[in-house]
Amino acid sequence: MIAQLLLTALLMAILLYSWIAYRKSPAVALLSFLASLAGLYLVWLPNHASTLAHWIGIGRGVDLVLYVWVGISLILLLNLHLKLRAQMEVITQLARAIALANALPSRPGQEPPRPQSGD
């Protein structure tokens, strides 16, 4: 009973988060909303997890939850990876802007003669 109450509190917090996050990223909000609803359902009716697991060919309800959790973690990892790449692109643009703003022309006097270009 204690575990069930603790898990319920956690999952309710995620429900609240999904409600707040809906405006910013609807896809993430919707997914976490559905995941926490499913979590609440299985916390209070654990037998249903076993029935569902048997139905799709997995031995125990716990195993089913574990597999789903691993799946979700991998998707989150990929999402994080993509976010890091996007962040790297922003850093690159920033570094490029700094580099171009501080460009050093070739040192006068040491250049070999070349035709005048006008710019």
């Binding site: 990929l78 990876h81 993509l82 790449r85 996007a86 790297m88 692109e89 850093i91 690159t92 570094a95 490029r96 700094i98 580099a99 171009l100 501080n102 460009a103 050093l104 022309p105 070739s106 040192r107 040491q110 250049e111 070999p112 070349r114 035709p115 005048q116 270009s117 710019d119």
Partner: protein, 228 residues
Amino acid sequence: MTITRDNIWVVIPAFNEGQVIADVVAGVVREGYRVVLVDDGSADATGDFAAAAGADVVRHPINLGQGAGLQTGIAYALARGADAIVTFDADGQHRASEIALLIETLARENADFVLGSRFKGAAVNLPPRRRLLLKAATLFTRVTTGLDVSDAHNGFRALSRRGAQAITLRQNRMAHASEILHEIARSGLRYVEAPVTIEYSAYSLAKGQKISDSIVIMVDLFARRLHR
């Protein structure tokens, strides 16, 4: 297309190439081209050597990778009003005397991209294993881009102003070589290949690509497709 030699910019990205960069830059400057060296956050004096040898120097505050260096150099050259841009390796593998051939091909063929090919030209001291890896990469690129190219990972290219404006490199690291070909395919602009000589030395081989890098490149290319 009229291209004057003093309005051709040679872009050289470099990272810790202090040992060879002065000679490489001087070789290009001697041919009468403008050089922009992108110092990719080197720990040594690469930028100083290059500036003394006659290159404009743009310095990344942090190391970003060769692809990012090329894009920075191209942006710099375009801002300076370049008619044509040549990309050139910093490690001494390319011959400055062959830049003229690429530019001449650009003008003669009325192309926007001229891609150097070591397999149409010459690859001096190319180890057999490296040759196999390059051939495999070329096959992969032909299949994924639909471009009819004989050498996929050659850093020696010439771009018209229009061509340079039409492409954007977002792959900072080594996957940019494939990306540039994807960008060329996407732009729909005219490209041709020209024979060039790539001369391998112990120095350039030690700095070059390894088989394991190809896996990293594949991951980078795949990830780009996911978050376009």
